[in-house]
Symmetry: C2
Subunit: 215 residues, 2 copies
DNA sequence: TGGCTTATTTATCGATTGAAAAATAACTCG
DNA sequence: CGAGTTATTTTTCAATCGATAAATAAGCCA
Protein backbone atom coordinates (compact mmCIF):
# COMPACT_ATOMS: atom_id res chain seq x y z
CA UNK A 1 0.00 0.00 0.00
CA UNK A 2 2.65 2.51 1.06
CA UNK A 3 4.98 1.14 -1.57
CA UNK A 4 4.76 2.51 -5.04
CA UNK A 5 3.35 -0.75 -6.24
CA UNK A 6 3.61 -1.30 -9.95
CA UNK A 7 -0.04 -1.94 -10.66
CA UNK A 8 0.58 -2.88 -14.26
CA UNK A 9 1.45 -6.55 -14.54
CA UNK A 10 4.42 -7.29 -16.67
CA UNK A 11 3.45 -8.06 -20.20
CA UNK A 12 5.01 -11.15 -21.59
CA UNK A 13 5.38 -11.37 -25.30
CA UNK A 14 4.69 -14.81 -26.57
CA UNK A 15 5.56 -16.13 -29.97
CA UNK A 16 2.83 -16.12 -32.53
CA UNK A 17 2.28 -19.85 -32.45
CA UNK A 18 2.36 -20.09 -28.68
CA UNK A 19 -0.13 -17.28 -28.30
CA UNK A 20 -2.45 -18.77 -30.85
CA UNK A 21 -2.45 -22.15 -29.17
CA UNK A 22 -3.03 -20.54 -25.78
CA UNK A 23 -5.94 -18.53 -27.14
CA UNK A 24 -7.68 -21.59 -28.49
CA UNK A 25 -7.16 -23.61 -25.33
CA UNK A 26 -8.50 -20.89 -23.07
CA UNK A 27 -11.26 -19.99 -25.50
CA UNK A 28 -12.51 -23.54 -25.13
CA UNK A 29 -12.71 -23.12 -21.36
CA UNK A 30 -14.36 -19.75 -21.71
CA UNK A 31 -16.96 -20.63 -24.34
CA UNK A 32 -17.77 -23.88 -22.58
CA UNK A 33 -18.72 -21.89 -19.51
CA UNK A 34 -20.29 -18.77 -20.98
CA UNK A 35 -21.56 -19.92 -24.35
CA UNK A 36 -20.61 -18.69 -27.78
CA UNK A 37 -22.69 -15.53 -27.49
CA UNK A 38 -20.36 -14.09 -24.89
CA UNK A 39 -18.35 -11.06 -25.89
CA UNK A 40 -14.82 -11.05 -27.21
CA UNK A 41 -14.01 -8.52 -24.50
CA UNK A 42 -14.90 -10.91 -21.72
CA UNK A 43 -12.95 -13.59 -23.51
CA UNK A 44 -9.93 -11.30 -23.72
CA UNK A 45 -10.26 -10.58 -19.99
CA UNK A 46 -10.21 -14.32 -19.35
CA UNK A 47 -7.10 -14.52 -21.51
CA UNK A 48 -5.37 -11.65 -19.76
CA UNK A 49 -4.91 -9.64 -22.95
CA UNK A 50 -6.72 -6.85 -24.70
CA UNK A 51 -9.62 -7.55 -27.00
CA UNK A 52 -8.12 -6.33 -30.30
CA UNK A 53 -5.25 -8.73 -29.90
CA UNK A 54 -7.66 -11.53 -30.70
CA UNK A 55 -8.07 -10.08 -34.15
CA UNK A 56 -4.39 -10.40 -34.85
CA UNK A 57 -4.75 -14.19 -34.60
CA UNK A 58 -8.26 -14.76 -35.86
CA UNK A 59 -9.92 -12.74 -38.62
CA UNK A 60 -13.29 -12.84 -36.90
CA UNK A 61 -15.05 -14.20 -33.85
CA UNK A 62 -16.62 -16.87 -36.00
CA UNK A 63 -13.26 -18.08 -37.22
CA UNK A 64 -12.11 -18.44 -33.63
CA UNK A 65 -15.25 -20.41 -32.82
CA UNK A 66 -14.59 -22.72 -35.74
CA UNK A 67 -11.13 -23.42 -34.41
CA UNK A 68 -12.64 -24.16 -31.04
CA UNK A 69 -14.97 -26.69 -32.63
CA UNK A 70 -12.15 -28.33 -34.52
CA UNK A 71 -9.87 -28.58 -31.52
CA UNK A 72 -12.60 -29.97 -29.30
CA UNK A 73 -14.02 -32.50 -31.71
CA UNK A 74 -11.05 -33.47 -33.78
CA UNK A 75 -9.17 -36.62 -32.96
CA UNK A 76 -11.32 -37.59 -30.03
CA UNK A 77 -11.99 -40.82 -31.81
CA UNK A 78 -9.16 -43.30 -31.42
CA UNK A 79 -8.61 -45.50 -34.41
CA UNK A 80 -7.85 -48.42 -32.10
CA UNK A 81 -11.52 -48.41 -31.15
CA UNK A 82 -12.43 -49.42 -34.68
CA UNK A 83 -10.25 -52.47 -34.24
CA UNK A 84 -11.31 -53.17 -30.68
CA UNK A 85 -15.01 -53.28 -31.45
CA UNK A 86 -14.51 -55.83 -34.21
CA UNK A 87 -11.91 -57.97 -32.47
CA UNK A 88 -13.65 -61.36 -32.41
CA UNK A 89 -10.83 -62.88 -30.42
CA UNK A 90 -12.36 -61.27 -27.33
CA UNK A 91 -15.89 -61.73 -26.01
CA UNK A 92 -18.23 -58.94 -27.01
CA UNK A 93 -19.11 -58.11 -23.46
CA UNK A 94 -15.49 -57.45 -22.64
CA UNK A 95 -14.93 -55.41 -25.79
CA UNK A 96 -17.89 -53.18 -25.01
CA UNK A 97 -16.75 -52.59 -21.45
CA UNK A 98 -13.28 -51.57 -22.58
CA UNK A 99 -14.64 -49.40 -25.35
CA UNK A 100 -17.22 -47.51 -23.35
CA UNK A 101 -14.81 -46.83 -20.51
CA UNK A 102 -12.31 -45.33 -22.92
CA UNK A 103 -14.92 -43.53 -25.00
CA UNK A 104 -16.56 -41.90 -22.00
CA UNK A 105 -13.15 -40.97 -20.63
CA UNK A 106 -12.67 -39.05 -23.87
CA UNK A 107 -15.97 -37.18 -24.05
CA UNK A 108 -17.22 -36.92 -20.46
CA UNK A 109 -15.44 -33.66 -19.81
CA UNK A 110 -17.09 -30.40 -18.96
CA UNK A 111 -15.67 -28.73 -22.08
CA UNK A 112 -16.69 -31.40 -24.55
CA UNK A 113 -20.16 -31.89 -23.14
CA UNK A 114 -21.06 -28.24 -22.86
CA UNK A 115 -19.61 -27.19 -26.20
CA UNK A 116 -21.32 -30.13 -27.84
CA UNK A 117 -24.72 -29.07 -26.54
CA UNK A 118 -24.11 -25.36 -27.15
CA UNK A 119 -23.21 -26.03 -30.75
CA UNK A 120 -26.01 -28.54 -31.12
CA UNK A 121 -28.60 -25.97 -30.12
CA UNK A 122 -27.11 -23.49 -32.56
CA UNK A 123 -27.88 -25.81 -35.44
CA UNK A 124 -24.31 -26.48 -36.42
CA UNK A 125 -23.93 -29.58 -38.52
CA UNK A 126 -22.21 -31.31 -35.62
CA UNK A 127 -25.50 -32.92 -34.71
CA UNK A 128 -25.73 -35.12 -37.74
CA UNK A 129 -22.02 -35.70 -37.87
CA UNK A 130 -22.12 -37.13 -34.35
CA UNK A 131 -25.23 -39.21 -34.96
CA UNK A 132 -23.63 -40.65 -38.05
CA UNK A 133 -20.47 -41.48 -36.15
CA UNK A 134 -22.33 -43.29 -33.42
CA UNK A 135 -24.48 -45.15 -35.92
CA UNK A 136 -21.73 -46.36 -38.18
CA UNK A 137 -18.81 -46.84 -35.87
CA UNK A 138 -20.51 -47.97 -32.69
CA UNK A 139 -24.10 -49.15 -32.77
CA UNK A 140 -24.25 -50.98 -36.07
CA UNK A 141 -21.00 -52.68 -35.20
CA UNK A 142 -22.31 -53.74 -31.81
CA UNK A 143 -25.41 -55.22 -33.41
CA UNK A 144 -23.39 -57.03 -36.03
CA UNK A 145 -21.03 -58.42 -33.44
CA UNK A 146 -23.91 -59.46 -31.25
CA UNK A 147 -25.53 -61.41 -34.08
CA UNK A 148 -22.22 -63.05 -34.90
CA UNK A 149 -21.54 -64.08 -31.34
CA UNK A 150 -25.02 -65.54 -31.07
CA UNK A 151 -24.79 -67.63 -34.20
CA UNK A 152 -26.75 -65.42 -36.59
CA UNK A 153 -24.33 -65.52 -39.48
CA UNK A 154 -26.64 -63.82 -41.96
CA UNK A 155 -25.31 -60.61 -43.40
CA UNK A 156 -28.56 -58.77 -42.88
CA UNK A 157 -28.65 -55.15 -41.82
CA UNK A 158 -29.83 -54.25 -38.35
CA UNK A 159 -33.53 -53.43 -38.30
CA UNK A 160 -34.58 -49.89 -37.30
CA UNK A 161 -36.00 -51.35 -34.09
CA UNK A 162 -32.72 -53.01 -33.19
CA UNK A 163 -30.81 -49.85 -33.94
CA UNK A 164 -33.21 -47.83 -31.82
CA UNK A 165 -32.72 -50.17 -28.92
CA UNK A 166 -28.98 -49.81 -29.20
CA UNK A 167 -29.50 -46.05 -29.19
CA UNK A 168 -31.42 -46.33 -25.95
CA UNK A 169 -28.49 -48.16 -24.38
CA UNK A 170 -25.96 -45.71 -25.77
CA UNK A 171 -28.13 -42.75 -24.84
CA UNK A 172 -28.50 -44.04 -21.31
CA UNK A 173 -24.74 -44.06 -20.91
CA UNK A 174 -24.40 -40.69 -22.64
CA UNK A 175 -27.04 -39.24 -20.37
CA UNK A 176 -24.79 -40.02 -17.41
CA UNK A 177 -22.42 -37.42 -18.85
CA UNK A 178 -25.20 -34.93 -19.34
CA UNK A 179 -26.35 -35.33 -15.78
CA UNK A 180 -22.84 -34.90 -14.47
CA UNK A 181 -21.59 -32.03 -16.62
CA UNK A 182 -24.70 -30.20 -17.78
CA UNK A 183 -27.10 -30.69 -14.90
CA UNK A 184 -24.14 -30.80 -12.51
CA UNK A 185 -26.07 -33.34 -10.56
CA UNK A 186 -24.46 -36.02 -8.38
CA UNK A 187 -24.07 -39.30 -10.22
CA UNK A 188 -22.79 -42.70 -9.21
CA UNK A 189 -19.09 -42.15 -8.64
CA UNK A 190 -18.12 -45.50 -10.13
CA UNK A 191 -18.46 -44.87 -13.84
CA UNK A 192 -17.15 -48.33 -14.73
CA UNK A 193 -19.86 -49.88 -12.62
CA UNK A 194 -22.52 -47.81 -14.37
CA UNK A 195 -21.23 -48.94 -17.75
CA UNK A 196 -21.01 -52.53 -16.59
CA UNK A 197 -24.60 -52.56 -15.37
CA UNK A 198 -25.85 -50.79 -18.47
CA UNK A 199 -24.15 -53.35 -20.70
CA UNK A 200 -25.36 -56.28 -18.60
CA UNK A 201 -28.92 -55.11 -18.78
CA UNK A 202 -28.68 -54.40 -22.49
CA UNK A 203 -27.11 -57.70 -23.47
CA UNK A 204 -29.22 -59.78 -21.11
CA UNK A 205 -32.30 -57.86 -22.09
CA UNK A 206 -32.00 -58.36 -25.82
CA UNK A 207 -31.01 -61.94 -25.19
CA UNK A 208 -33.86 -62.91 -22.97
CA UNK A 209 -36.76 -61.04 -24.47
CA UNK A 210 -38.10 -61.63 -27.91
CA UNK A 211 -39.74 -58.26 -27.87
CA UNK A 212 -36.83 -56.31 -29.15
CA UNK A 213 -36.65 -58.36 -32.28
CA UNK A 214 -40.26 -59.15 -32.86
CA UNK A 215 -41.41 -58.32 -36.36
CA UNK B 1 -47.78 -2.30 -57.54
CA UNK B 2 -49.68 0.32 -59.50
CA UNK B 3 -52.28 0.55 -56.79
CA UNK B 4 -51.64 2.84 -53.86
CA UNK B 5 -51.22 -0.15 -51.61
CA UNK B 6 -51.66 0.58 -47.95
CA UNK B 7 -48.34 -0.74 -46.72
CA UNK B 8 -49.13 -0.22 -43.07
CA UNK B 9 -51.05 -3.19 -41.74
CA UNK B 10 -53.99 -2.42 -39.53
CA UNK B 11 -53.07 -2.32 -35.89
CA UNK B 12 -55.39 -4.31 -33.74
CA UNK B 13 -55.60 -3.32 -30.12
CA UNK B 14 -55.82 -6.32 -27.90
CA UNK B 15 -56.83 -6.30 -24.28
CA UNK B 16 -54.04 -6.29 -21.77
CA UNK B 17 -54.51 -9.88 -20.70
CA UNK B 18 -54.88 -11.19 -24.24
CA UNK B 19 -51.75 -9.42 -25.39
CA UNK B 20 -49.75 -10.67 -22.44
CA UNK B 21 -50.77 -14.24 -23.02
CA UNK B 22 -49.99 -13.96 -26.73
CA UNK B 23 -46.57 -12.50 -25.97
CA UNK B 24 -45.65 -15.37 -23.68
CA UNK B 25 -46.87 -18.03 -26.10
CA UNK B 26 -44.96 -16.60 -29.02
CA UNK B 27 -41.92 -15.80 -26.91
CA UNK B 28 -41.72 -19.51 -26.14
CA UNK B 29 -41.62 -20.33 -29.84
CA UNK B 30 -39.10 -17.59 -30.48
CA UNK B 31 -36.69 -18.29 -27.65
CA UNK B 32 -36.88 -22.03 -28.26
CA UNK B 33 -35.59 -21.41 -31.77
CA UNK B 34 -33.18 -18.53 -31.30
CA UNK B 35 -32.05 -18.89 -27.72
CA UNK B 36 -32.47 -16.47 -24.86
CA UNK B 37 -29.64 -14.24 -26.04
CA UNK B 38 -31.63 -13.08 -29.04
CA UNK B 39 -32.68 -9.47 -29.09
CA UNK B 40 -36.00 -8.09 -27.94
CA UNK B 41 -36.27 -6.36 -31.31
CA UNK B 42 -36.21 -9.64 -33.18
CA UNK B 43 -38.69 -11.02 -30.71
CA UNK B 44 -40.98 -8.03 -31.32
CA UNK B 45 -40.68 -8.60 -35.04
CA UNK B 46 -41.78 -12.19 -34.53
CA UNK B 47 -44.68 -10.86 -32.49
CA UNK B 48 -45.68 -8.28 -35.10
CA UNK B 49 -45.40 -5.34 -32.69
CA UNK B 50 -42.78 -2.78 -31.82
CA UNK B 51 -40.06 -3.52 -29.35
CA UNK B 52 -40.96 -1.00 -26.61
CA UNK B 53 -44.42 -2.52 -26.33
CA UNK B 54 -42.81 -5.50 -24.65
CA UNK B 55 -41.80 -3.26 -21.81
CA UNK B 56 -45.39 -2.32 -21.10
CA UNK B 57 -46.09 -5.95 -20.22
CA UNK B 58 -42.79 -7.07 -18.74
CA UNK B 59 -40.49 -4.85 -16.68
CA UNK B 60 -37.38 -6.36 -18.22
CA UNK B 61 -36.25 -9.01 -20.65
CA UNK B 62 -35.33 -11.24 -17.74
CA UNK B 63 -38.81 -11.04 -16.30
CA UNK B 64 -40.22 -12.15 -19.62
CA UNK B 65 -37.79 -15.05 -19.70
CA UNK B 66 -38.88 -16.09 -16.22
CA UNK B 67 -42.49 -16.18 -17.38
CA UNK B 68 -41.41 -18.31 -20.33
CA UNK B 69 -39.77 -20.77 -17.96
CA UNK B 70 -42.82 -20.93 -15.74
CA UNK B 71 -45.24 -21.44 -18.60
CA UNK B 72 -43.14 -24.13 -20.19
CA UNK B 73 -42.34 -26.10 -17.07
CA UNK B 74 -45.38 -25.53 -14.92
CA UNK B 75 -48.07 -28.14 -14.84
CA UNK B 76 -46.39 -30.50 -17.25
CA UNK B 77 -46.57 -33.10 -14.54
CA UNK B 78 -50.00 -34.71 -14.28
CA UNK B 79 -51.01 -35.65 -10.77
CA UNK B 80 -52.63 -38.80 -12.13
CA UNK B 81 -49.14 -40.08 -12.88
CA UNK B 82 -48.39 -40.18 -9.15
CA UNK B 83 -51.35 -42.49 -8.76
CA UNK B 84 -50.68 -44.50 -11.88
CA UNK B 85 -47.11 -45.40 -10.95
CA UNK B 86 -48.17 -46.74 -7.56
CA UNK B 87 -51.33 -48.52 -8.68
CA UNK B 88 -50.61 -52.09 -7.62
CA UNK B 89 -53.81 -53.33 -9.19
CA UNK B 90 -52.04 -53.20 -12.52
CA UNK B 91 -48.83 -55.00 -13.49
CA UNK B 92 -45.75 -52.77 -13.28
CA UNK B 93 -44.83 -53.36 -16.88
CA UNK B 94 -48.19 -52.02 -18.01
CA UNK B 95 -48.02 -49.05 -15.67
CA UNK B 96 -44.61 -48.06 -16.97
CA UNK B 97 -45.69 -48.29 -20.58
CA UNK B 98 -48.69 -46.07 -19.96
CA UNK B 99 -46.66 -43.61 -17.94
CA UNK B 100 -43.76 -43.21 -20.32
CA UNK B 101 -46.01 -42.79 -23.31
CA UNK B 102 -47.90 -40.00 -21.60
CA UNK B 103 -44.81 -38.44 -20.06
CA UNK B 104 -42.92 -38.33 -23.33
CA UNK B 105 -46.00 -36.97 -25.06
CA UNK B 106 -45.80 -34.08 -22.61
CA UNK B 107 -42.09 -33.23 -22.87
CA UNK B 108 -41.00 -34.45 -26.29
CA UNK B 109 -41.86 -31.19 -27.99
CA UNK B 110 -39.44 -28.91 -29.72
CA UNK B 111 -40.22 -26.05 -27.34
CA UNK B 112 -39.83 -28.01 -24.12
CA UNK B 113 -36.70 -29.84 -25.18
CA UNK B 114 -34.84 -26.83 -26.51
CA UNK B 115 -35.80 -24.45 -23.73
CA UNK B 116 -34.89 -27.11 -21.19
CA UNK B 117 -31.39 -27.45 -22.60
CA UNK B 118 -30.95 -23.72 -23.18
CA UNK B 119 -31.83 -23.00 -19.58
CA UNK B 120 -29.82 -25.95 -18.34
CA UNK B 121 -26.68 -24.64 -19.97
CA UNK B 122 -27.32 -21.21 -18.49
CA UNK B 123 -27.07 -22.67 -15.02
CA UNK B 124 -30.61 -22.00 -14.01
CA UNK B 125 -31.75 -24.07 -11.07
CA UNK B 126 -34.00 -26.05 -13.37
CA UNK B 127 -31.31 -28.70 -13.60
CA UNK B 128 -31.54 -29.84 -10.03
CA UNK B 129 -35.27 -29.32 -9.90
CA UNK B 130 -35.71 -31.73 -12.80
CA UNK B 131 -33.29 -34.30 -11.45
CA UNK B 132 -35.08 -34.22 -8.12
CA UNK B 133 -38.42 -34.69 -9.81
CA UNK B 134 -37.25 -37.70 -11.79
CA UNK B 135 -35.58 -39.21 -8.75
CA UNK B 136 -38.47 -38.87 -6.36
CA UNK B 137 -41.53 -39.21 -8.53
CA UNK B 138 -40.33 -41.68 -11.15
CA UNK B 139 -37.20 -43.71 -10.54
CA UNK B 140 -37.40 -44.41 -6.82
CA UNK B 141 -41.03 -45.33 -7.28
CA UNK B 142 -40.22 -47.68 -10.12
CA UNK B 143 -37.57 -49.42 -8.03
CA UNK B 144 -39.89 -49.71 -5.05
CA UNK B 145 -42.66 -51.12 -7.20
CA UNK B 146 -40.25 -53.52 -8.84
CA UNK B 147 -39.12 -54.88 -5.50
CA UNK B 148 -42.70 -55.23 -4.34
CA UNK B 149 -43.79 -57.05 -7.46
CA UNK B 150 -40.87 -59.43 -7.12
CA UNK B 151 -41.49 -60.33 -3.52
CA UNK B 152 -38.91 -58.14 -1.83
CA UNK B 153 -41.16 -56.69 0.83
CA UNK B 154 -38.37 -55.00 2.79
CA UNK B 155 -38.71 -51.25 3.13
CA UNK B 156 -35.09 -50.62 2.22
CA UNK B 157 -34.07 -47.68 0.11
CA UNK B 158 -32.83 -48.22 -3.40
CA UNK B 159 -29.05 -48.50 -3.56
CA UNK B 160 -27.12 -45.88 -5.54
CA UNK B 161 -26.30 -48.58 -8.08
CA UNK B 162 -29.92 -49.48 -8.59
CA UNK B 163 -30.88 -45.83 -8.92
CA UNK B 164 -28.12 -45.30 -11.44
CA UNK B 165 -29.35 -48.20 -13.52
CA UNK B 166 -32.84 -46.75 -13.51
CA UNK B 167 -31.31 -43.46 -14.66
CA UNK B 168 -29.68 -45.24 -17.57
CA UNK B 169 -33.07 -46.58 -18.62
CA UNK B 170 -34.77 -43.22 -18.16
CA UNK B 171 -31.93 -41.41 -19.86
CA UNK B 172 -32.07 -43.76 -22.79
CA UNK B 173 -35.70 -42.88 -23.33
CA UNK B 174 -35.03 -39.18 -22.74
CA UNK B 175 -32.21 -39.28 -25.24
CA UNK B 176 -34.69 -40.28 -27.90
CA UNK B 177 -36.22 -36.82 -27.43
CA UNK B 178 -32.82 -35.15 -27.61
CA UNK B 179 -31.97 -36.93 -30.81
CA UNK B 180 -35.29 -35.99 -32.34
CA UNK B 181 -35.62 -32.37 -31.26
CA UNK B 182 -32.08 -31.18 -30.56
CA UNK B 183 -30.04 -33.19 -33.04
CA UNK B 184 -33.00 -33.18 -35.42
CA UNK B 185 -31.93 -36.63 -36.42
CA UNK B 186 -34.29 -39.30 -37.73
CA UNK B 187 -35.51 -41.62 -35.00
CA UNK B 188 -37.70 -44.69 -34.97
CA UNK B 189 -41.12 -43.34 -35.86
CA UNK B 190 -42.92 -45.67 -33.45
CA UNK B 191 -42.26 -44.04 -30.08
CA UNK B 192 -44.45 -46.58 -28.25
CA UNK B 193 -42.35 -49.36 -29.67
CA UNK B 194 -39.15 -47.66 -28.52
CA UNK B 195 -40.57 -47.33 -25.01
CA UNK B 196 -41.80 -50.89 -25.05
CA UNK B 197 -38.41 -52.27 -26.02
CA UNK B 198 -36.59 -50.05 -23.55
CA UNK B 199 -38.82 -51.25 -20.73
CA UNK B 200 -38.56 -54.88 -21.77
CA UNK B 201 -34.81 -54.74 -21.80
CA UNK B 202 -34.67 -52.89 -18.52
CA UNK B 203 -37.06 -55.18 -16.65
CA UNK B 204 -35.70 -58.38 -18.16
CA UNK B 205 -32.17 -57.19 -17.68
CA UNK B 206 -32.41 -56.41 -13.99
CA UNK B 207 -34.37 -59.62 -13.53
CA UNK B 208 -31.97 -61.94 -15.25
CA UNK B 209 -28.62 -60.55 -14.27
CA UNK B 210 -27.34 -60.42 -10.77
CA UNK B 211 -24.85 -57.78 -11.80
CA UNK B 212 -27.08 -54.83 -11.22
CA UNK B 213 -27.64 -55.79 -7.65
CA UNK B 214 -24.35 -57.43 -6.84
CA UNK B 215 -22.38 -56.38 -3.73
C1' DT C 1 24.10 0.19 -28.39
C1' DG C 2 21.00 1.12 -32.28
C1' DG C 3 17.77 -0.13 -35.81
C1' DC C 4 14.28 -3.25 -37.32
C1' DT C 5 10.44 -6.40 -36.57
C1' DT C 6 6.28 -7.58 -34.44
C1' DA C 7 3.47 -8.57 -30.39
C1' DT C 8 0.46 -5.77 -27.79
C1' DT C 9 -2.19 -1.77 -26.29
C1' DT C 10 -4.82 2.55 -26.84
C1' DA C 11 -8.33 4.84 -29.08
C1' DT C 12 -12.18 4.70 -31.84
C1' DC C 13 -15.96 3.50 -35.19
C1' DG C 14 -20.64 2.07 -36.60
C1' DA C 15 -24.10 -1.27 -35.45
C1' DT C 16 -26.90 -3.32 -32.07
C1' DT C 17 -28.39 -3.99 -27.44
C1' DG C 18 -32.00 -3.28 -23.36
C1' DA C 19 -34.65 0.26 -21.83
C1' DA C 20 -37.10 4.82 -21.01
C1' DA C 21 -39.76 9.07 -22.44
C1' DA C 22 -42.72 11.24 -25.25
C1' DA C 23 -46.11 11.26 -28.95
C1' DT C 24 -49.98 9.12 -31.12
C1' DA C 25 -54.06 6.55 -32.08
C1' DA C 26 -57.57 3.21 -30.89
C1' DC C 27 -61.15 2.11 -27.86
C1' DT C 28 -64.77 3.09 -23.91
C1' DC C 29 -68.30 5.32 -21.80
C1' DG C 30 -71.10 9.50 -20.91
C1' DC D 1 -70.38 13.37 -30.44
C1' DG D 2 -66.52 14.33 -27.00
C1' DA D 3 -63.55 13.63 -23.06
C1' DG D 4 -60.77 10.25 -20.82
C1' DT D 5 -58.23 5.98 -20.77
C1' DT D 6 -54.76 3.06 -22.51
C1' DA D 7 -52.66 0.21 -26.05
C1' DT D 8 -49.21 1.12 -29.39
C1' DT D 9 -45.65 3.61 -31.91
C1' DT D 10 -41.94 6.97 -32.57
C1' DT D 11 -37.86 8.76 -30.91
C1' DT D 12 -34.00 8.51 -28.28
C1' DC D 13 -30.22 7.12 -24.90
C1' DA D 14 -26.33 4.95 -22.75
C1' DA D 15 -24.01 0.63 -22.82
C1' DT D 16 -22.02 -2.90 -25.28
C1' DC D 17 -21.04 -5.41 -29.40
C1' DG D 18 -17.46 -6.95 -33.29
C1' DA D 19 -13.96 -4.91 -35.65
C1' DT D 20 -10.24 -1.49 -37.45
C1' DA D 21 -6.34 1.87 -37.34
C1' DA D 22 -2.88 4.02 -35.11
C1' DA D 23 0.40 4.22 -31.31
C1' DT D 24 3.53 1.79 -28.29
C1' DA D 25 6.85 -1.34 -26.45
C1' DA D 26 9.15 -5.72 -26.16
C1' DG D 27 12.34 -8.73 -28.35
C1' DC D 28 15.98 -9.80 -31.89
C1' DC D 29 20.20 -9.30 -34.43
C1' DA D 30 24.01 -6.43 -36.26
Amino acid sequence: MSETAQAKPRKKRLSSTERRAEFITKAIEFFAEEGFESSTRDLAKHLGVTQPLLYRYFPSKNDLIKEVYQTVYLNRWREEWDILLCDRERPLRERLQTFYEAYTDAIFTREWMRIFLFSGLKGVEINRWYVGLVNERILNRILTEYRFENGDSSDRQATPEELELAWVMHGGIFYYGIRKHIYESPVLADKSRMISDALDVFLMGIGETGSAFKD
